[in-house]
Symmetry: C2
Subunit: 352 residues, 2 copies
């Protein structure tokens, strides 16, 4: 059965599609000149807080690249900003939080999120996007997962080894649980509101969870990811679960309950799919650096991903992590076309 509406939504439901749908993490952003022109005038959060502008930035990659989805333009820390945490997005560093959360007293600063009141601009952006997007292009909402939010909140900035956040959870497990419960509640409220405002599929970004070993993941993180997916289960939208360097904990992550597991390039796609189980869809997994390679290398890496997916329903083509800012938009657009064409041919020839 070939879906008539959005190939991406169909693939997330593991329905057959004419070609493999494609989108890229960070497809809206610094690799597009039209985005950089806007950022000359406005800082990141100012763009987010003006729904017309934010919708424009979200739509830029749809127009220029021909991707099969638009993903809300926002930062992982957006809901923290919404509840009044001061976040500074420092160029070539990432989110910096001047007053980290490290004690039980600090938890008081993590109040409930009231989406309409605190992040009305996000919801308005989604409403605009749903009006403007064609039916074939899916609208993706997203949120950072509690662990990944906690890395920023506890460390105060991006980290190389996450020593502080791990030490926190080992030494103060009760405070950790309270922190994860606060962040889970915020994430659930945020994603439910996004779905109500028009997001047709949502991705939970647990970008740094792969720095945890299996026992730590199971003890300190999995219960909260599971709680989030359970809360969203009844909303009628597919759920994507993303992390990097997760090859060793994929089975545990898959047990959290998403419909689509998003994996990075450090594991062959077929090995990953086998690990998470064939009843789950898979997203990935090109190395973003491949887009800086000559075409023959780029095509060979894209072919490898498609070959491992083997034309099976349930594959969403993506990178293993976000697009690098220095990527040439022409290369990105060429890759979208290439994946569409090759995957269509692959289907017509019949998968091996």
């Amino acid at each position: 059965m070939i879906a008539k509406d959005s190939p991406l939504l169909a693939a997330a439901r593991r329905e057959a599609t004419e070609y493999t749908p494609v989108w890229f993490m960070r497809q809206a952003g610094r690799s597009l000149p039209e985005y950089r022109r806007i950022r000359e005038k406005y800082d990141f959060f100012t763009v987010c807080q003006q729904p017309d502008l934010c919708a424009e930035v979200t739509l830029q990659p749809v127009k220029r690249l021909g991707v099969d989805a638009a993903i809300l333009f926002a930062d992982i820390t957006t809901p923290l900003v919404g509840i009044g945490i001061e976040v500074d997005l420092v160029e070539s560093v990432g989110p910096v939080i001047a007053a980290p959360v490290r004690t039980v007293e600090d938890l008081a600063r993590l109040r409930d999120l009231e989406p309409e009141q605190d992040l009305g601009y996000v919801l308005e952006t989604l409403r605009i996007l749903r009006r403007e997007l064609p039916e074939t292009v899916a609208l993706i909402g997203f949120a950072g997962a509690p662990f990944t939010l906690a890395t920023y909140l506890v460390e105060g900035k991006p980290s190389r080894d996450y020593t502080q956040v791990k030490t926190f959870m080992y030494r103060a497990p009760e405070v950790w649980r309270a922190l994860m419960e606060r962040l889970s509640a915020i994430t659930i409220a945020y994603l439910q509101a996004q779905i109500q405002a028009g997001a047709q599929i949502v991705q939970l970004f647990d970008s740094w969870v792969g720095w945890l070993g299996p026992a730590d993941y199971e003890t300190y993180v999995l219960p909260y990811s599971r709680r989030i997916f359970e809360a969203l289960r009844g909303q009628g939208v597919p759920l994507i679960h993303f992390g990097t360097t997760t090859a060793g904990i994929l089975d545990l992550m898959a047990s959290a309950g998403a419909d689509v597991m998003s994996v990075d390039w450090r594991i062959p796609l077929d090995a990953a799919w086998k690990r998470v189980g064939m009843e789950i869809a898979i997203q990935g997994n090109l190395d973003p650096v491949s887009l800086l390679a000559p075409r023959e290398v780029l095509w060979s890496r894209a072919d490898d991903v498609l070959r491992r997916a083997n034309g099976r329903p349930g594959h969403i083509f993506n990178l293993g992590h976000g697009l690098l800012p220095q990527t040439n938009p022409d290369e990105i657009a060429a890759l979208v076309t290439y994946v569409h064409e090759q995957s269509q041919q692959y289907r017509s020839q019949g998968a091996a």
Copy 2:
């Protein structure tokens, strides 16, 4: 059969031992106050270049912690320093190379290594250590693998995503091959000389290779790692192959030909062992951050490693990466005792 000499060497040969041997990457270094006292007077490379002092620093963890091996105190970049590359070890950054290697012309700076002439101090240190170490404590030599050396040489400093080194290999594959051949020759000469000077087992550190996907690993790295292990195969010492975030490429790495695969904490030890094959010994794989946790968490994580090794011959207990500088030496020593005692009990009770 219980080995009478060094439990660590026996385990590397997959022979039965009374208890699981233990050593730690970076066991000599900043977590020991006696090391920090020496570093108040001398910089890192000055310590390395004075064999008596270097041997003393290498022996410090053997005396204080009761580990089953001493590992030569040196940096991964030591052979580069030996051939005249200027390396600056910047505190809390890592090795910085002011003049990176990025063109075919730059390769001329990578001349052959003449170990006795260029790194006589390393070899003299090993000779002293072999005289001073008891038979039961193994002497480990080591070198950085060509890819990991190349990350420093090409990027000029530690990197978060290795974009420059990957782009280099994609765009200039012939220069890349020449670079890897130069580095392989240097590494082989360096390790052969270490073995001749008394190293009883050697570890190849490919610390950052886990940032490569399987196809890149196979194309750009594996041939050179294989060449190194082949060249060392006849020397009569066991060979250890180390990397981090390697869960997705473990089978490929194992095919390079080491006797022991060293894995990080991001994969359960039993899953890793199964992946590399039971005819290879395994080293690992506690998260270094566990040593900052309260005892009950530390014991539980150590138990998990031992339980997954299941008392099977061929396990060397280690961390998944180096000790963190802030680790309390009393905790490290307690862990050595704990692993020795628990693994002995485990054997006497009979593994499940």
